[in-house]
Amino acid sequence: MADIRSIRAVRPVRDIRPNRSTRTLRVGASAAVMAAVVLAVLLVPPLVQLDEQAVDLARKLQPPSWQHPFGTDDVGRDLLLRCVYGLRVSLLVGVVAALAATLIGTAVGAIAGAFGGWTDRVLMRLVDTFSSVPHLLLGIFVVAMFRPGVWPVVVSVALTHWLSTARIVRSEILSLRSRPYIDAAISGGASRRRVAVRHLLPGVLPQAALAAVLMVPHAMWHESALSFLGLGLPAHQASLGNLVQSARGSLLAGDWWPTLFPGLLLIVPTLAIAGLAGAWRDRLAPRRRSELML
């Protein structure tokens, strides 16, 4: 018999990811962008103490300059400052709504997958029912019930975005539940709770966490869509959707900066989060090649 200590472990994983330097560059750039964004929204408002609502009609619609790097809007408010405040609201809505949606989705998916039978059937039909309504419409219905503000938007986004997470978690739990290692754990005396906490949940957590991260940009876009339609935040409050909405008129007059910068601030963090999540997904399941769904 060969000496088992001399046998080296082999990893027959074929690497199908982009080459290493491209990956490092993408992850580095994404991390740098996200760090800048997070620092800006956390530090600028308390440190700078400028009024983002300060109106200066003498300086309305000025193109980008050293004094106003992003220019000014149609009532002379500084757009850089408003963009930072807008990004802050959008990120807050994005993160809180994504967390809430993931919690709901994980709970529903785990219960459906772990209990099976009628519980599973009823919960999954509920998911189908929710999915059959366009979720922007459902989101509008939810915000319409409350006075405009940040929290109704969070609730609206959370209540319409748990469906995919519930499906992912349920299918993962179902596939884990029938593995022989669950049988082995039961045979080894593990309680129902121990099997769930130690073997099933850790198996789905990476997937659920990844879904949560990918949900953040999605929730930001949803918030912007609601605000753009005038159903999200109150019109005076800066949010990326509101900024684009109020700049529509000046765009037709050839003033490009009030729409360009909020738009970029929506797109760039989205790509940065996708870059980071993609790298994480590659580490989680190197062999699985699925496209990121934003």
Partner: protein, 219 residues
């Protein structure tokens, strides 16, 4: 030790995989169960390990008639039986290191104090040396992982060991080493063995008697 009487079992209603099967394993005896693929051997092994509820028939384990299966079966009864499955890859939690894999039943039954001593003892018995115990399941070969799975099945000192095609995916030297480890354990503890497989030569040499099934049993 184990008496299976008139067992009918399957996974879909009205389509039993096993029909009216009986099998007994006496205390200290080694019984080989031989049969072609798909004849229901593994299902019978799962019933005997209290992992699958039969549609009809009775299971008497260690003098106790079994009424409940899986989580509902009393823990003491469940842990009377140790099981080793065919595919080590499928039967090991991919997140655990081999040391934790072997110790898992001790943790699940609240016997943490015994872990260090018992794991080292079993690792030696099944031939896992060096740094293998600190490696994850994906960092060892199938043969090494199956050694760990055997150690896990033995860690609670079961009075009946069920090996469901334990060596089907392994080479001859690992097969010999695992069978030797099982036999050493049985000499020491007088435990019974139910070895399921389709290798007649192996089962004839390994077991006291071999039961042979024809394709689709008693259909």
């Amino acid at each position: 030790m184990l008496e299976l009487s008139n067992i009918t079992a399957g996974y879909e209603r009205g389509k039993p995989v096993l029909r009216d099967v009986s099998l007994a394993v006496a205390r200290g005896e080694a019984v080989g169960l031989l049969g072609p693929s798909g004849c229901g051997k593994s299902t019978l092994a799962r019933v005997a390990a209290l992992l699958h509820r039969p549609d009809a028939g009775t299971v008497v384990l260690d003098g106790t008639t079994v009424h409940d299966y899986r989580h509902r079966a009393p823990r003491a009864l469940r842990t009377t039986v140790g099981v080793v499955f065919q595919s080590p890859r499928q039967s090991a939690d991919p997140r655990l290191r081999l040391r934790d894999l072997i110790a898992e039943p001790l943790k699940a039954t609240g016997r943490r104090i015994e872990i260090r001593e018992r794991v080292d003892e079993l690792a030696h018995a099944v031939g896992l040396g060096g740094d293998l115990l600190t490696r994850g399941a994906h960092e060892v070969s199938d043969g090494q992982l199956q050694r760990a799975c055997l150690a896990r099945a033995l860690v609670l000192r079961p009075r009946l060991l069920i090996c469901d095609e334990m060596t089907a995916m392994l080479d001859a030297s690992t097969t010999a080493a695992l069978v030797a480890a099982v036999e050493a354990y049985r000499r020491e503890t007088k435990a019974s063995l139910l070895a399921v497989g389709h290798d007649q030569v192996l089962l004839d040499r390994w077991c006291d008697r071999t039961v042979s099934w024809a394709a689709p049993s008693a259909a």
